[in-house]
């Protein structure tokens, strides 16, 4: 099974490796899987993560950067001293594991409710927004010349794509129309500088320890665009998990996020951040609708997916709070 394939691969490239153990699947989507395992060596075990698209899996979503690009970006971030796992190996045909890569496992927590409530993160919480500001600035400052091939998207293209996705659901939602209209009317145009955008900079993709941010994961949606997009996305209310007065992930203020960003030598454009917060809120709402559609169309009628469809209304109230606030 997978442990045998992993063993064959790992002994071929990891110095001194004798085998692998403790292989567990962490997640599996329609196009990608993530596995955790131990590389055994005489000097002790090394925690590792496999991220792959097994052979014969469905095509990656059109927004995806691709696993090779993910590996390259993760390694680039690691080399730039950003909190990012070291890439140990990029899979090739000899590995017979499909396409993807193997990275060092970083210990810590990704579950938002634990990060926001557990005592062990109490000292880290007030520092996170500032740290994330500095990290985002580091990501946006990675040299364009070193980046892998990535798609570039302007705000107008993103709005158009969101509108198409929403309309394909045949799900008339006046509040979503209001948000689309607002986005079109407030499209900030091209940014001063087009940079690398992480694309999914939020809870779930951040490994947090008692000391703060330990790693940024999941570059699947990385692209070239407006750097303010990452700062807006992390402020979306859906990622505050009830701590609605702390806009950055439910743990911090915009001021701290922006201060960290500017301390790292980059400029914040606050109105653009707000624009992308509105766009991100609508995007999550449309994604909830997509979950409902997949629940109806796919053979595995997942109850969780069905219930996520009922979370679209959360984004409607969030959009109204942004666009039509009541006294």
């Amino acid at each position: 099974m997978i442990e045998e394939d992993l063993t064959r691969s790992v002994v071929a490239w990891y110095p001194g490796a004798t085998g692998v153990a403790g292989t567990v699947k962490l997640s599996g989507g329609a196009s990608q899987e993530t596995w955790s395992f131990e590389i055994m060596t005489p000097a002790g075990n090394v925690g590792a993560i496999l991220r792959r698209a097994p052979k014969g899996y469905g095509a990656a979503p059109s927004r995806a950067a691709g696993l090779d690009a993910e590996a390259a970006l993760m390694q680039l971030a690691h080399e730039a001293n950003l909190p990012s796992p070291r890439v140990l190996h990029v899979l090739d045909a000899d590995d017979e594991l499909g396409s993807g890569f193997i990275m060092q496992r970083v210990e810590g927590e990704t579950i938002a409710r634990k990060i926001l409530r557990d005592a062990q993160f109490a000292d880290a919480r007030p520092k996170l927004a500032g740290q994330l500001g500095r990290i985002a600035a580091g990501i946006h400052g990675l040299p364009r010349s070193k980046l892998p091939q990535l798609k570039q998207r302007t705000a107008s293209e993103e709005i158009g794509e969101l509108a198409r996705e929403y309309r394909s659901l045949n799900w008339p939602k006046p509040v979503f129309e209001l948000a689309l209209r607002w986005l079109r009317d407030n499209d900030p145009g091209a940014p001063e500088e087009v940079t690398l955008v992480h694309g999914d900079f939020r809870h779930g993709n951040l490994i947090i320890g008692a000391d703060g941010v330990r790693a940024v994961l999941d570059w699947e949606l990385a692209h070239l665009g407006d750097p303010m997009e990452d700062l807006g996305w992390i402020c979306v209310n859906s990622w505050r998990f009830g701590e609605i007065d702390k806009p950055v992930g439910g743990f911090g203020t915009r001021e701290d996020l922006f201060a960290g960003y500017e301390a790292a030598g980059r400029k914040v454009d606050a109105p653009r951040v707000t624009f992308y917060e509105v766009m991100g809120t609508l995007r999550w709402g449309v994604m909830c609708g997509g979950m409902m559609q997949r629940f109806r169309m796919q053979p595995d009628r997942s109850m969780e997916r069905a219930m996520i469809g009922r979370r679209a209304s959360e984004t409607e109230i969030d959009l109204l709070r942004l666009l039509a606030p009541r006294a």
Partner: protein
């Protein structure tokens, strides 16, 4: 006319049984799924309880706002189209109030514990 008990009495009885008698026996991934299942039943109970009144009020507001008749789906489609083409916006009398009321009525069914919803409830 169907016999009793009412649908809400049944969904509530099933949810209570799962919550009180089954949940303590289940762990791991199935405990998570069971929680989702109980949430779904609670949602259905709330919808069966609240939907008739909120739908009627929503349809009434939409008929007035749009000066037309139709099913709730058709009326929502018409409002969505008019907002999309700019015929109606937040400055149009009644639009903001309608969108707020409709959204609050949805949250009362979907996610009454949602922090933003609770905050807005205090404003009324």
């Amino acid at each position: 006319m169907q016999d009793e008990p009412q649908p809400t009495e049944l969904t509530k009885a099933v949810a209570d049984f799962l919550r009180e008698d089954i949940a303590p026996l289940v762990s791991g991934q199935n405990a998570f799924k069971l929680r989702v299942a109980i949430n779904a039943l609670d949602l259905v109970t709330r919808q069966l309880t609240l939907e008739a009144a909120s739908d009627a009020a929503e349809a009434e507001r939409l008929r007035r706002l749009l000066a037309m008749q139709g099913s709730l789906f058709e009326l929502n489609r018409a409002l969505a189209d008019k907002i999309a083409n700019g015929e109606l916006d937040l400055q149009t009398p009644g639009v903001a109030e309608h969108l707020w009321q409709t959204t609050m009525d949805k949250l009362a069914v979907d996610q009454p514990a949602y922090a933003a919803y609770r905050r807005e409830l205090q404003k009324r």
